[in-house]
Symmetry: C2
Amino acid sequence: MSRQTVSNVLNRPEIVRPETRARVDEVISRLGYRRHAAARRLRTLRSSTIGIHLDPYSGGISGTVLDRFVHALTERASDRGMRMLVYAAESPDEEIQRLSELIEGGEVDAVVISGTFHGDPRTRWLRDKGVPFVSFGRPWGEDDVGDPAHLWVDVDGASGTRDATIHALRHGPRVGFLGWPEGSGTGDDRASGWHQVITAHGDTGSPRVVAYEEVHAARRAAEPVIEEVDAMVCASDTLAFGAYLAALAVGRRDLPIYGFDNTPVAEALGFSSVEQRPEEVAKGVLELLMGPEGSEVSPRRPSPGFAHVLVQPKLVVRQR
Amino acid sequence: MSRQTVSNVLNRPEIVRPETRARVDEVISRLGYRRHAAARRLRTLRSSTIGIHLDPYSGGISGTVLDRFVHALTERASDRGMRMLVYAAESPDEEIQRLSELIEGGEVDAVVISGTFHGDPRTRWLRDKGVPFVSFGRPWGEDDVGDPAHLWVDVDGASGTRDATIHALRHGPRVGFLGWPEGSGTGDDRASGWHQVITAHGDTGSPRVVAYEEVHAARRAAEPVIEEVDAMVCASDTLAFGAYLAALAVGRRDLPIYGFDNTPVAEALGFSSVEQRPEEVAKGVLELLMGPEGSEVSPRRPSPGFAHVLVQPKLVVRQR
DNA sequence: AATCAGCATTTGAACGATCAAATGCCATGG
DNA sequence: CCATGGCATTTGATCGTTCAAATGCTGATT
């Protein structure tokens, strides 16, 4: 029995005669043989590993979304014979440093980055190096959106707030919006969903207020409008938490509130929230990197139709 | 210039003549050379990688502790020239399956497991295989505690609730405790800290109630006692959240509450909480695996004094 | 001047797998 | 009976690094 036949049984079983294959399989399981990953990597020059950045802990309520995403990705990658290697970096520059160690050392075949912004140096660096990568989050720069060299997966925020707003209108015509200050791609996207539905409904006076991603800032922002609305749609669960406290303070315990991210807090306080579906995002990421079925990172193909995935979020309705 | 000299510059620079070293360094940075990780792993039979399990997302508020721990571990491992590989598994049996792939394939040199329990099959399997591992969390079986073959790092829960209770006594003598049903090592440990302080204080009537780790269960459990206490100490932020809602419901908005884990919710609601200090836990894990300074996983040494690390948590006091 | 110690550097082999090409085997057909 | 083709299996080379041992160099000692 030769090395190569064993190798064939493991990598291309269909070319080995069934009886030979069975014999090899038997010996493999009897001896408990496992092929050595490093030797395989050396020979194939593939690591079958995907790198992913762990954001610095920011302390936010919505931090769980990224963790759920990492988890989902780990599960799905495992199904495709891939491993996930995590790395930490505090700044984009440090991240490029880490990336270059990982890529040039052959430790990862591809990377997943998140929190991309317009003019992100990581994006440029990765593209220049020819490294396969996907970002969780749109680049939010007009030139990049149609660019098939930059693969991305994102959640359709506008669709989420649209659904929330439509549902909120059941409780009355005045549906307020509590969002982030203008200028962030994600924030403006979420605001637009509310705005579309409200204007389509002929409304002009529903209040819109803004606050930074912090519970008490959100509460203060919500207070002036909380008594005059029938429901509040918010850009995040953190903001929704603030709105909840504001409503409580004026005795409107049952004011319908809609958050975003469906965090444990939304569940605990019992307000509705838009679920980002990290599992779907993870699925999209792997499809972009490896194709619909593949078990290795495929070279970037330039078909614009398959460069992006926009996940439809799902409104989770809760009664209080 | 020979291969080996370059290798020496990278691995044992002190044995290379300084001028030669400088020349090699110059060429390395000029060519942007990086050694190929897989080849190194193959030759040394070390992967310089540590595996860590990602728990299935349970939706709890306190899930953030483990994520912070993973993050801290990733940062510190990187400082020591180590990488972190994450894997997912739904059950102990599946986890053993994953572990055996990773270990026997030479993908990891050591693993970190969490949530260990008495008679945990993972522990036994790892020990039988001779795999270096550390658990985050005590095994909670008497025979294992003194066993230097099972390295562990844990947070001193009793110390945390002790600090919280001592602080709570400033607000009055009746300090209640909201914990988990008896039988879990961690839960009983945290309860004991409160109990020690309360009895040392000569108290006999301070109420103790229990609930499962869920906000509304906690709220219902807290309701019957919430009016008769001067403060509440809780075994987790989830429980504390429930106590907070119970206090709010009876108009005791300012009742001092002490949680555990110092999650974003504690910060948002402004109650005190015991911080687990995941960074210290991560530091302890690496010290057990690699020694105080080393840059590779060291063979298990049998000195009982260095088999365990008990991290002192820190009470974060908040005013409302 | 020749020998030797001590250190710096180079050489040959090996880690365990896969790739590409060569070989062996069997049935078929001239 | 031997050549041919097609498929299954084996052989030789290689991936990039480090280990162990050999070699080369320098300066001090005999």
